[in-house]
Symmetry: D2
Subunit: 335 residues, 4 copies
């Protein structure tokens, strides 16, 4: 039984994480933190947890957290996460970080995209990117894992095998992605006010979405060459799910069959990637840790279509997958 603390427990990824951990035979949630006043029971903040988790929100120090928990899931926003994690690591606690703070290797890139100086720059480049499909071997021994962003998960899982196989060019990659509204979090904003975003689709943060350098970095690693993608995030009126359509130029003559076989071979042993013949719907993956991927060849251009549940494979499911690898549970436990 592993004692777990969840930092920043009032948001959607934390709620989803709790629901998964409640059915995990090896997980015991011992603390849920928030700066919210009054230390309400967590079920007051998340009514769906009524009678399921009898804990109050607490505002406690890293030392107190480390004293209680062996594993910390940090659902804090970027900046806040890296303010507390060094203390936890120093105390010997293991960490799965949902924020972007330890995903990028280069403090300069972080500063450029996040508009602030990284406060723990020396650790950058030494933290494993928690996508088991690409970096599984480094996860079991890691003290800290940077849990991937939701959009990057769809783009990276779809494109990496084709890049590694040298089937697509590294330039001119377009990632056109569509996400459900839960991806925007629980903080109130006009853009996610129901009558504003319901029955409407729109693009946002074009050219400056912070998942861009993350996709760049991991795809560059896969390709062994620098990649800069064109990334277009779009907001879709649904709770959860991301569908990503990516476009790339083939390096040479290639058939749709080859593309599919390359994907299928790459993920043959993966428990959570399904290479499918049909065009997947986000609903097929909803509430699961699956990523569904297919590929098409259209007028000489390679297309990949991939989808996930942004709160599961795009956040909390991936985090538990990492947790399972870190603590020696079967990788699919509770997923």
């Amino acid at each position: 039984m592993t004692r777990i603390a969840i930092l920043g427990a009032t948001g959607y990824t934390a709620l989803e994480l709790i629901k998964i951990l409640l059915r995990h035979p090896g997980a015991e949630i011992v603390a849920v933190t928030s700066r919210q006043e009054g230390q309400p029971p967590i079920a007051m903040v998340h009514p769906s947890l009524t009678d399921r988790l009898d804990l109050r929100l607490e505002d406690i120090t890293p030392a107190e957290i480390a004293a209680r928990a062996e594993c910390v899931f940090s659902c804090l926003p970027h900046g806040a996460s890296s303010a507390v994690i060094p203390h936890l690591l120093a105390a010997g606690t293991r960490v799965v970080d949902f924020s972007a703070d330890y995903r990028l290797n280069d403090p300069e890139v972080f500063a450029q995209w996040y508009g602030q100086k990284h406060t723990d720059p020396d650790r950058l480049g030494k933290v494993v990117y928690g996508l088991p499909e690409l970096f599984r071997s480094q996860i079991p021994s890691a003290q800290i894992v940077a849990n991937p962003g939701c959009y990057p998960t769809t783009a990276i899982l779809a494109l990496s095998p084709l890049l590694k196989a040298g089937l697509i060019e590294t330039s001119d990659i377009i990632v056109d992605a569509k996400s459900g509204v839960s991806g925007a979090g629980r903080t109130l904003k006009l853009t996610t006010h129901y009558p504003e975003c319901n029955e409407s689709i729109s693009a946002y943060n074009i050219g400056r979405h912070r998942h861009t350098p993350e996709i760049d970095q991991i795809l560059s690693t896969a390709a062994g060459k620098p990649i800069e993608v064109i990334f277009t995030p779009q907001l879709v009126p649904m709770d959860r799910g991301i569908l990503t359509t990516a476009y790339a130029r083939p390096t040479g003559p290639v058939s749709e069959e080859q593309l599919m076989q390359t994907l299928a071979a790459f993920y043959a042993d993966e428990p959570f990637v399904r290479v499918v013949e049909h065009l997947p719907s986000t609903k097929d993956c909803a509430l699961t840790n699956y990523c569904d991927i297919t590929a098409r060849l259209v007028r000489g251009r390679v297309l990949t279509i991939s989808c996930i549940d942004n709160l599961i494979k795009g956040a909390s499911g991936a985090a538990v997958q990492n947790f399972n690898l870190m603590f020696g549970y079967p990788e699919t436990t509770a997923l």
Copy 2:
């Protein structure tokens, strides 16, 4: 051509009002007000108005408003509306008030349900309730009209004819109502944050919703006897529309046919009430000024089902209907 000012122009009812007035041959919008900083163009606040209304939001005094406009639509919240309206009336301006400030006759009842003392109590009881189907004759000459609430419109239009005909008891009336989310306004709240209210239905404000005394008052007038309804508002994941199912006991033997004939006769000449045989959907009325009504007799109990678009017949369409009556335009103009 009537010069019009709209107070509190950043919300949904104001937006809807503007869209209607833009196709009204007799309406000229001369001012849109808000306390919002910086006097942005209204199209920045409502992007759908781009290229359609070239005005900036202004924060101007009642005197300035009265100097410019012959008719004021006040989309201000309760309390704020009655703070400015007396000044407008004193200056000779005519007013359609969207707030609840002048709907109730009794300042005590207002204080009890709205939790504040009315600041213009002497006027209460002298303002016409702007439901033309019941009070048309008083509207053309009125200087101020209290535009009805959205829920009350559905309940009152469905039940009044049956009460007036003495077909249903005045006690034990239940009004079970379901509204789309735009009814909750544009102010950010957790309950109307997309991932909270999407794919979910819930009741709210049971026993204390402020439309209760309004329904009571108008139905009591219709019946000539005091009525206190049981009113249950519920929030439905859709932008617009209210469906109200009301339950009443018949005063004596009655057939479904009689109920329907009573409704049909009562509304025979009404341009915006459709007494329909089928069970109406809110979508049938969406974006229109119609109220669809039907009645059923189930195991000896009378049921009425009525629906409207809460932003049109439940707010801005009704307001323009009143405006048309006040200023001598054909009642259906622009509707």
Copy 3:
């Protein structure tokens, strides 16, 4: 390990049942049936089952089913279910029936509401109604369990404790219920075509919905007196969830606290009923086997508000709860 067959596996309740059983340590799905041509893999009909259940749909005889399975979940429609179940029972197979075929005690009532003569009338009245909260003791030894309807579950769980305690009258009970669209099944109909029912709410089958006699029967049993409810089903634009607001007259002076305490005491030991202080949202129960219930006293009238996920506690979750009781698994297994 219990060998399970699922009849009528192409619909939503079957899909949901499969998803639950896939995480049940004691369940082995050995057959999924359908009259669909060509015996496609079930994952072609339900793409979300890709890589999760490697079975083909089969059109096999009751004898073949009985030879393979110890337990049959019948997701067939009414009429079709009672055509096959007698054969299964004769062969010694145990059955959880999702249809309405064995819920009613009286063949006359069945014929009246379902418009067809019951083909297995002698068994009616001898089959336990599979609501463990009321009839748990009869389930473990039952060879067949009639799984409750979705609407009835919400009404019965909310009202039974108050009727048993004699707190509410047996006459004049109103059940105003709102359901998500999955409740209408997977058969194509104009009313559930997306652009028809999206962004709209409407009532349907008023006075003739087939869940009416089922609610009547079980509430009458609870009260020890005949009850005939006014039942109004309404279709809400969301995938899943039922919210039921019921109205009843108190038998004498009663406080809201008494109502709540009666409910809380009745369900004190129930794993899947949560008596909550707040007004519940269907989303709180979504994807769970919970029923959330609260009560209010409004102007002398008793209100209960209850909600469930119609596909889980209203169908497949309840079925697995019954299965667990029948086969000696802990009642909450996989739920």
Copy 4:
């Protein structure tokens, strides 16, 4: 007053067309046709038309139609439309055709994409493509206008000005488009059954959507060079709206400002195209005849984002815009 017949009046584009024409001072609807049995009143098929249009569906011959109407809007599917239109034209009736039958110039291309031989091939290439923004001058005198497809409208309006200005390459154009469900029509299909497509997004018909050759043809005309786009249609859970994100390579150094100025200049006098600085939402155009367009430069790639209401500017609004031009009404009448 122009006498109008609408062929195939049971679908969504016909309903939308009727609603627009009902507020058109010069339009009189004299016939609505359908092969539906029993000639029901149109309000039985479209309840929202109750009390608004008192016509029955009729199954009448082209000769009868031509005898009654000066203008025919054909909302028939492809193939069916070209079976009747030659008779109408021979009789001197003018036609706005919603189908794809007269949009393509080349019968071979039609046969290839629509899988059937064109039955009126000689007329192809002589029918004006009814996009006034590009072909206005040919519309007033046209006897028949091919009303554009919904997806093509968004792609063509966004890209044509940049192609005409020589700012983007003609190769490697990607059109990633997302549509609401009404675009799939009113015919029942599993993919548009509410619980299937709600809360889900998916791509469909990749590489073989029939709007592809239409986009190719008009963009090729604009560019003066053959263009073959990569077109990806995707289904979004909302009633109406299309958002299209297109990607193109610039022909040389270009700034975002230049792109925007080119668009703004091109559409300076257009009543229904708004070149906007912000990233538009489909909701901004909902229920209007506007197309909102913006452009961005991302990492050296040109992006256009454009959106419309697929039922208005993408179908019935455009049809009325064409009708206005054909019959000498002000172009914006009723729009």
